[in-house]
Amino acid sequence: MSRIGVFVCHCGLNIAKTVRVSELAQFASTLPDVVVAKDYKFMCSTPGQEMIANDIKEHKLDRVIVTACSPLMHEQTFRKVLENAGLNKYLVTIVNIREQVSWVTHDIEEGTAKAKAVLNGAVYRARLLAPLTSRVIDVNPDVMVIGGGIAGIQAALELANTGKKVYLVEKNSTIGGHMAQFDKTFPTLDCSACILTPKMDAVLQHKNITMMTYSEISEVKGYVGNFDITVKQKARYVDHSKCNACLACTEKCPGKGVSEWDEGLVKRKAIYIPFPQAVPQKPVIDREACTYFIKGKCKLCQKVCEQKAIDFEQEDSFSTVKVGAVIVATGYDLMNTKPLVQYGYGKYPGVYSALEVERLFNSAGPTGGKVTMRDGKEPQAIAIMHCIGSRDKNNYEHCSRVCCMYSLKFAHLFKEKTSADVYQFYIDMRAAGKGYEEFYNRIIEEDVKFIRGKGARVAESVDEPGRLIVEAEDTITGKFIQLPVDMVVLSPAMIPRSDSKDIARLLNLSTDKYGFFMERHPKLAPLSTMSEGIFIAGVCQSPKDIPDTVAQANGAAAEALTIVVKDKMELEATTAMVNPASCCACQNCVRVCPYGAPFFNDQKGVSEINEALCKGCGLCASVCPTSAIIARHFTNDQVLAEIEGLMEF
């Protein structure tokens, strides 16, 4: 016999609108072992929690059922209530009558009937629940940050400044990310390098930060508080411990590779640093472009290197880093617009992608900051086309959020650097951000022409060879426009990095349909993920501007700190256990477990489970032919009882 208390939440009208809550509480009081049943407006509020705590004492409850929102929302809240009232926290059951009942029907009859059925299931299950003891583990105090763009840099610095040791892993040979490619940042038009490079240097100088550039994560083991992450250091063919950054090698190198930093607009050497302010200031060799690796002879760099740092025999190396928490800040790519043949990117030299234009404006860029096109001429008329591939159901439905503003920035910079006419082809002007509407108004004043209509096509001009024609429908006048221009700038969709799927797989992160990492809760846990101890920041979560990215990075750093600031932490007690009397020694459990938690005890002749490794999925319990394995909190009896309760009504 147990003593169950049922607490039905109205959630304002969120539940009460489509479930008759007092009738539900009345119904609950008729169910077996239920000694008290109440309804209240907001069960998660302080008075609601106090009501539960008081009733636990007054009615000597040993089981609590809260009939409210999803357990993913407030299970932890109510577990605390039980704990504070002196009851084992695993004896609370949350019945989800909001997300999965009241919000998905308009019919109060249907809603009430379903709520009764699921509550009945919970009562059946609650009677069989057992108190569980949480495991306490040691926490590794270090943190890994994956991605060395502005988000990763910011998060790493924040954490390092609290005294925590940080490993910053970056796949390129320098940190800085996309922000290092920009010339100016909207809406203030302050120089991107001037605000970023001091931070890059701070990372380099910080005694608590270990930079791991030209590196990728290749394997992740462990769990929150104790991750073992294998990092692959790609072969640089330059021994950075010997290199003194004189860069004599880069001068002599005859090899030619595509400059990623200049978006392929120019060539760079085969041994190179991506840009003059790169951190670290030490070169790597691009194997694909290196004359020695292609033809088997050259080694000019080796000859000029006084430090004898060039090492053509170097291979990829692997090291394992132990950390307590991880921040993922892997950033974005711009969509490849070549497949959108109507815009002629890659076909007409006058068509540019946004990041290429960033490089044209940059004084450290391929043109030294002068706006000249691929043919060396200065454009006389420029069309900037918004929403290429984004806000487009055929490609990416999402708004990329920053394109309106950087397109305005482009317009301003074009006006400043050329005498060209500048046209904006836009669907809507989205200027939601501090100072953004003001910036928009400022650009309107600068004699930039705005055409409200998405650019539909770019074609070669028949009348003026070499020029381009932009076609669009001006949705204000309703007229079809054919505008001759010299240069077209595409503002493509921001999408997750091409390897974000690999990161998601390694770290067990969920992604949305485009590959952006899913947050634990869109509003209340926007930086947490479903994987405990792993946090996300920046555009890898969804498109956003630099201020939002930095704010998220700070937030993620604080979230990571909440884990690594403690020496020990509690883990879920919902692990599996073996009843040795029933174990038939088949070792199915040992074979299937992805974490290696079950092991065979040769002496006893039965399987046992290492609880520190068990994550509580229950797979072993299902493959056990003799039901010797018990998945705590989800035992066969508990689940079957719940099913029985659910099917009764």
Partner: protein, 145 residues
């Protein structure tokens, strides 16, 4: 009165259950015939859960997990996929119409897919009528399975 089927749903915590929550958060509407049991992973599903539901008079059973390859526990749903394929065969052997049992991979971001699947499956089960083949009036006293 029209026949209203009873449908048992078994959903994994990380993908399908979260997807079902998302369907609610975005206020998608679907029939109220489904009652969901949450398990941590689809691999936890013992076929006896499904048989018992049919014994208890369920007219349909819907199982949801993460997409193969996206399992929160790496490989759990791959084992589940095999086991559920065998379960389907046993159900067919026992005379349960195949349309009464469905396995779907629904991720945490696919609230709309969850609503669509539930709507479609409910309609399908409704058309099959009440399930009587497997239903037993008196359940034997619970015992270890």
């Amino acid at each position: 009165m029209d026949f209203e089927p009873k449908i048992l749903g078994i959903a994994c915590n990380w993908c399908t259950y979260t997807g079902a929550d998302l369907a609610g958060t975005t206020r998608l509407q679907y029939p109220q015939n489904l009652r969901v049991v949450r398990v941590m992973c689809s691999s936890r599903i013992n076929p006896s859960f499904i048989f018992r539901a049919f014994q208890l008079g369920a007219d349909g059973v819907l199982v949801g997990g993460c997409h193969p390859g996206d399992c929160h526990y790496n490989t759990g749903n791959l084992y589940a996929r095999r086991r559920l394929a065998v379960t389907r065969k046993i159900l067919e052997f026992a005379g349960i119409e195949p349309g009464r049992f469905r396995v779907e991979w629904i991720s945490a971001s696919e609230g709309n897919k969850f609503a669509e699947v539930v709507t479609e499956f409910t309609e399908q089960v409704r058309n099959l009528g009440p399930q009587t083949k497997f239903k037993i009036e008196q359940l034997p006293t619970p015992e270890k399975i």
